[in-house]
């Protein structure tokens, strides 16, 4: 099969760029640890309210871990519990969340905190809140009539 010289150059350049790009993404994920949220922990969706840590939603100070706080959320149609929370500026926080019913999203608008909440699974993300202000948490996966009303608020305060 014949291939034009310019096309060969074009493809070598394109595939080379692809290799570089994927290497960067791969190094970032597996060497620097910037992996997408994949908690791999399961839970009985009917027993969310009685199991730790979801029996105590909200901000909890922890000791002896890589992060200072755990921010626990329970999502259900069409609420997040807690509905509003204050986080100290600069705190390293592990956000842990699950859902009691259908699939919900958990997105802190204006940040990279973004994850899917699925019945039966716990999801989590570690982040540092290093900018003061009020952040809106929105559900970004359709969950029913009240989907656009489902939100929560994170206040990052000094």
């Amino acid at each position: 099969m014949h291939m034009h010289k310019f096309e060969k150059i074009w493809l070598i350049f394109g595939i080379g760029a692809l290799v570089v790009f994927l290497s960067v993404v791969g190094v970032s994920a597996f060497y620097l640890g910037n992996k997408p949220p994949s908690c791999l922990t399961t839970i009985d969706p009917k027993k969310v309210d009685t199991e730790a840590p979801f029996d105590k939603p909200g901000l909890n100070k922890v000791e002896g871990k890589e992060w200072d706080y755990e921010l626990v959320y329970v999502a259900s149609a069409f609420f997040y519990n807690p509905g509003e929370v204050e986080v100290p500026l600069g705190a390293k926080v592990k956000v842990i969340a699950t859902t009691k019913d259908v699939v919900h999203g958990f997105q802190v608008a204006g940040t990279n905190i973004n994850m899917m909440l699925e019945p039966g699974y716990v999801n989590e993300i570690v982040t540092t809140f290093d900018k003061e202000g009020e952040y809106l948490v929105v559900c970004n996966e359709y969950c029913g009539t009240g989907h656009h009303l489902m939100s929560s608020k994170i206040k990052v305060v000094k």
Partner: protein, 554 residues
């Protein structure tokens, strides 16, 4: 291409079946477009739906009609005609199977649509469990898929007949491409058929109590990404094999066109996890593997871009154009059959770039499930693909109905293309920007308790309503042209343009039609990308989920 067996005119009996598909497709466009307009108006915050109609109900109608009905019916009609034109008239048996497929799809569409209108299935076109729709909705969707398999079987039969009658020869390019797309579709729909038949139907009928959410999502996305290539490849068929003929040029290379289609078949399916990057139940290593496989489709995309622009440039130079971009001026800009698909092609450059961002392991986190994604597929599917489909309609519909594309309709077609483009710049552009600020997708109007961040999104939502209104105007124009070409245009002959390769001595290698080989590699890649994660999902499954109905009823 063998000119003895390839009739220049599509057999009227095949034309009738193709037209039947187009009637359904354009009805879907009209109704789905109206729903799209209403959505953008609601989301502007200045309009409320009357008579207790629910926003998420019309969102479901819009998604199902545009994403599943318009596309599947148009593609099957187009491919059925393209195979008939290039590989010869379909046999009576193939035609009968095609008609059965058409009716099965139509009945399925009516079943699903009825349940949505009754507010029994406001689950959007992704119908994610554990939202539980009425079983008739799922059964209707199954019929659409099974009907499309029958349609595809008719095309494969005619292709196989051509191969038998022409041993040792490469098949006509358009038929080859149609068969690749049909095979891709059949392999991909096995996923969605499995979740519907084995999980959602028994569950919605009450035969089982719970559903495994992660498995149903994984099976859905096994289908959901190749689905977008199933939309795109017919547009590529037109760009590779039809547009060169329309402008009076040649196909850059027949063999490279075939190779790129084979690469799309191989790399479009084992990649569904890149839609599930933000999900809790899948190991990051497997997610990354599928991200890598996803990026392989960039290679045939680059090949396609090269071929198309090489065709344009060579044509331009043959017309005496000089300089780096001189060829651009001599292209037939006053021909709707060229200009409209060209706008689609050009839109694919930013659209493809956005796709690379979405599929990227970590960048996805910024835009996942924001309205950026909606903006993205309104550039890819709703601009590149749909404008190319319109471009195809401008010659195919009169060809099939024995009418002429008049000067007036040609001009209206060009206006339609530009109206669409302008509408999409507003709507899709605003969606991309709002998404970067965190605005969620699939949401009705909300100020989120007068939150400051939500207030920043509203101007973009107003821009989307402006764009949506312009686009709806484009749909009205398209419907006018369709009705004219189908029923009122003057009788006459319109050409079915089929391009010829520049180098006719160079035959396509026969290895391209070695189906055992390509299907074998496809299966191996799918097994490689899915087997272990799938076993993992089953072994480590949480307790199943009962069904929920979280939307408002009548």
């Amino acid at each position: 291409m063998s000119s003895q067996t390839a009739k220049l005119k599509v057999d009227p009996r095949d034309g009738k079946l193709a037209m039947a598909h187009f009637y359904v497709a354009f009805i879907a466009l009209a109704l789905g477009g109206l729903m799209g307009l209403l959505q953008t108006l609601v989301r502007s915050g200045k309009f409320e739906l009357p008579w207790g109609i629910d926003y998420y109900q019309i969102l479901t109608v819009h998604g199902v009609l545009m994403g599943l009905v318009l596309t599947t019916f148009f593609i099957m009609g187009f491919q059925y005609a393209a195979v008939s034109r290039t590989a010869g008239t379909h046999s009576p048996a193939a035609r009968r199977i095609g008609w059965i497929g058409f009716w099965v799809m139509t009945v399925g569409t009516i079943m699903a649509a009825t349940m949505v209108l009754l507010k029994e299935a406001s689950v959007l076109y992704t119908f994610y469990a554990p939202l539980k729709a009425h079983w008739i909705f799922y059964l209707g969707m199954t019929f659409v898929v099974v009907g499309s398999w029958l349609d595809g079987a008719a095309q494969i039969m005619t292709y196989a007949k051509w191969r038998k009658e022409n041993p040792g020869k490469p098949s006509p390019l358009l038929s080859f491409m149609a068969v690749i797309n049909t095979v891709l579709w059949i392999v991909a729909t096995l996923g969605v058929a499995s979740t519907v038949l084995f999980q959602l139907l028994p569950w919605s009928l009450g035969l089982v109590d719970t559903v495994d959410v992660l498995i149903s999502r994984t099976l859905f996305w096994y289908f959901g990404h190749p689905l977008v290539y199933f939309w795109l490849l017919p547009a590529y068929m037109s760009w590779y094999a039809i547009v060169p003929k329309i402008i009076g040029g040649k196909i850059f290379s027949d063999s490279l066109a075939r190779l790129s289609f084979i690469l799309f078949l191989l790399f479009s399916i084992p990649v569904g996890f890149h839609h599930q990057l933000m999900e809790p139940g899948i190991d990051p290593a497997w997610k990354f593997l599928q991200v890598v496989l996803t990026f392989m489709v960039i290679i045939p995309s680059l090949m396609t871009a090269f071929s198309l622009f090489a065709t344009f440039e060579r044509f331009g130079r043959s017309k005496g154009a000089t300089g780096l971009f001189g060829w651009f001026k001599v292209l037939p800009w006053n021909d709707a059959r060229f200009t409209v698909p060209f706008i689609g092609m050009a839109s694919f450059i930013p659209a493809g770039a956005g796709g690379i961002i979405n599929a990227s392991n970590q960048m996805n986190q910024v835009v996942h499930n924001t309205i950026w994604v909606t903006g993205h597929f309104h550039l890819t599917a709703a601009t590149s693909v749909v404008l190319t489909f319109f471009g195809i309609s401008y010659w195919l519909i009169p060809h099939l109905t024995g009418r002429k594309l008049t000067k007036a309709m040609n001009k209206l077609g060009i206006i339609q293309g530009w109206v669409w483009f302008i509408g999409m710049v507003f709507m899709s552009g605003a969606m991309h920007f709002q998404g970067l600020l965190g605005g969620p997708r699939r949401s009705a109007f909300s100020t989120y308790g007068d939150a400051a961040q939500a207030a920043e999104w509203i101007p973009y939502q107003i821009a989307q309503a402006v764009g949506g209104s312009i686009l709806f105007l484009g749909i009205i124009l398209m419907i006018i042209i369709f009705v004219n070409l189908a029923f009122f245009a003057p009788k006459g002959e319109e050409e079915f343009p089929v391009g010829e390769a520049e180098n006719l001595e160079e035959k396509a290698p026969m290895i391209f039609e070695n189906w055992k080989l390509w299907l074998g590699i496809t299966a191996a890649l799918i097994l490689f990308a899915y087997t272990i994660p799938f076993i993992d999902m089953i072994q480590n499954a949480p307790p199943g989920s009962p069904g929920f109905k979280t939307w408002s009823s009548w």
